[in-house]
Symmetry: C2
Subunit: 357 residues, 2 copies
């Protein structure tokens, strides 16, 4: 790693922009990519010069370790355009720290902070026209690292690619969401990689989720692998339960991702005098609260959806519906959080990060 | 899937062979690849025509699901050349069944049997000069499947590539192997993907294994994630313990790979009147057996090494050495199994599979 002053991003611009061909009113989440991407190779024991290149395919040996051993981690973050055309990010340092935490657990070399921020900002400036004004519009940013070294022996690679790709996004609306509390399948083991955004954690959820879909659920809320008695998190969201006026959410652990939305909501709830208990949450208490009417809300918290209200859940063959509230914590907190993200409100926490021209 | 009679493999031969540049006396496991590879794409809801192409890089979108969600599975199998130049495989149907079992758990469409065997045999015939005579020489065969569909939303891909690549191998000798019994980290959760050859299972082991290496161990024997009291398997091998004259090995479960070497050894032990107990094995009993001298051997069983004797283990800061036996089960069974593989002995089990000209 070179020191800060000497970092130059090697930029090759796309000869023309695809932006005209994109219908920004009808975006499917994660399907459209901007004109450029960042690529940085790890070779000879160090991260080489970050490059920005026209967005396009990459070439890898069929024996590249990522294909065989899942040595891959990622992040998800967003950029927003405010009414004065300033571009903001939300707590990007948290994402930076987390990708290195994930990398460490996957035996991937950590990425230098200066490389991350300088290349990310250079990329955002190049593709800034892809960040549209309007509450709910954003640019979804996907940093990821993959092991590129060829070789089918199960050991860490010596070569890696750190990349950043960007996808314009609208408000994430998935329709009504009903979740299944997992009774049999698990997402993560104690002492495993559940706390990391390791690629393999996600593919492992698809099959159980497909089965849940056949039963009429859209997602799964994972329970602990040992007893299936405690509720942990969803596939890409941490989970909050509102019982009467109190919010409950599981503590983070080596099985649960330390979500940035989750911790922001906990901090905001404190400011708005919403009581939050961070503790183990049993399936039993939630089922009982659903039965006696004290369970008012369940919602997921994550970068893509910000907050995703959940309409009902299923457990052991029973289905439970949640009340339709006019004043939900979910919509209150989502609005407050998004207003900070879009520079429509004060930011007492110092969470906004300006991408300077 | 077309029916058997209509399957044609689309073959493009390499213009020239690299074989002359390969030093077959000094192969590093998994680093050299043959002249050809098999590629079959899953598109529009079905597996397309299998193709054989010159071995070379593949192109993927940076948003391909395999990079982000670890939707990838693989297999490991071998081909052998006997003294009459006949090419044999070992129980390939087991590998075929297992890759589909793995695929199913990773929400990857299963691969048709005829495609697998026809394309594999066509590939082996084309690259047969890479399969060298001599006890211990083999061709390591790596079928794998990756999700190729672009898109950074966490859901199963619609497009996949099934590939087979091949790497010539010599006897697998790793030097002395000492293992650490895992006390803290885990490989798999109940209800997870441990029984599948899912890519993510392997990358997740690299970091704990690196830590074990710093303590002087080469590998880890994983224990159950709940209690760390029971010994399960190693990173790429099932594990056998010999206590006095009895072999012990853990039962397969949704955390443990159903190894083909393991089950072949269990069947052979029966023929040779070696008592085998398939049951939960506690760390405690193995530590006690090591202390009182009744622990005679530990060995790993897997396709790459066949049988890998283990010289010692570490647990809770203590190191235990195993006796050096002149007549070990490990070397007896390895020799018997390899003689079947190389057509140097009768095959009462019907395990050999001839690759016909
Ligand atoms: C497993 C998992 N849990 C929770 C989250 C939410 O985290 P964040 O709020 O940082 O996006 C994500 C998505 O990033 C995730 O993948
Ligand atoms: C986790 C794991 N266990 C055990 C084995 C041994 O299985 P087999 O004997 O079928 O090669 C392997 C390798 O394939 C493996 O990856």
């Amino acid at each position: 790693m070179k020191n800060d002053a000497t970092i130059r991003i090697d930029i090759v611009k796309a000869p023309s922009s695809k932006i005209k061909s994109v219908d920004f009113e009808n975006l499917t989440f994660g399907n459209t990519f901007t004109d450029h991407m960042m690529v940085c190779d790890y070779e000879n024991g160090e991260w080489q010069q970050p490059k920005i290149r026209p967005y396009g395919p990459i070439e890898l040996e069929p024996s590249a370790k990522v294909f065989h051993y899942g040595q891959a981690v990622f992040e998800g973050m967003k950029a927003f355009r405010d009414n004065d055309d300033t571009i903001w990010m939300f707590r990007p340092e948290e994402n930076f720290n987390r990708i290195n935490k994930s990398s460490k657990r996957l035996a991937i070399p950590e990425f230098p902070k200066e490389y991350f921020f300088k290349s990310l900002e250079a990329l955002l400036k190049l593709d800034k026209d892809w960040i549209k004004k309007g509450f709910g519009n954003s640019l979804y940013i996907r940093p990821f690292v993959i092991a590129t070294e060829p070789g089918v022996s199960a050991s860490p690679g010596k070569n890696y690619k750190f990349m950043i790709i960007c996808s314009p996004a609208q408000s994430y609306y998935t329709g009504e969401v009903r979740v299944k509390f997992s009774e049999e399948f698990s997402r993560a083991a104690d002492g495993g990689v559940g706390f990391a955004k390791a690629a393999g954690n996600y593919g492992a959820q698809f099959y159980p989720t497909n089965l849940a879909k056949e039963e009429g659920f859209q997602q799964i809320i994972w329970t602990d692998a040992n007893s299936h008695e405690f509720l942990e998190e969803a596939g890409t969201m941490n989970i909050f339960f509102r019982v009467n006026d109190k919010l409950l959410t599981a503590p983070i652990s080596d099985r649960i991702l330390d979500g940035i939305t989750r911790k922001s909501l906990i901090a905001m709830a404190d400011v708005y005098d919403i009581p939050v208990e961070v503790r183990k949450i049993s399936v039993k208490e939630i089922v009982e609260a659903a039965k006696d009417g004290s369970l008012k809300e369940i919602f997921g918290a994550g970068t893509a959806a910000v907050i995703n209200p959940i309409n009902g859940f299923g457990y052991k063959g029973e289905k439970y519906e949640l009340p339709k509230l006019t004043e939900s914590y979910a919509s209150f907190l989502k609005d407050k959080l998004m207003k900070i993200q879009y520079n429509l409100a004060e930011d007492p926490f110092g969470w906004r990060y300006e991408v300077k021209e």
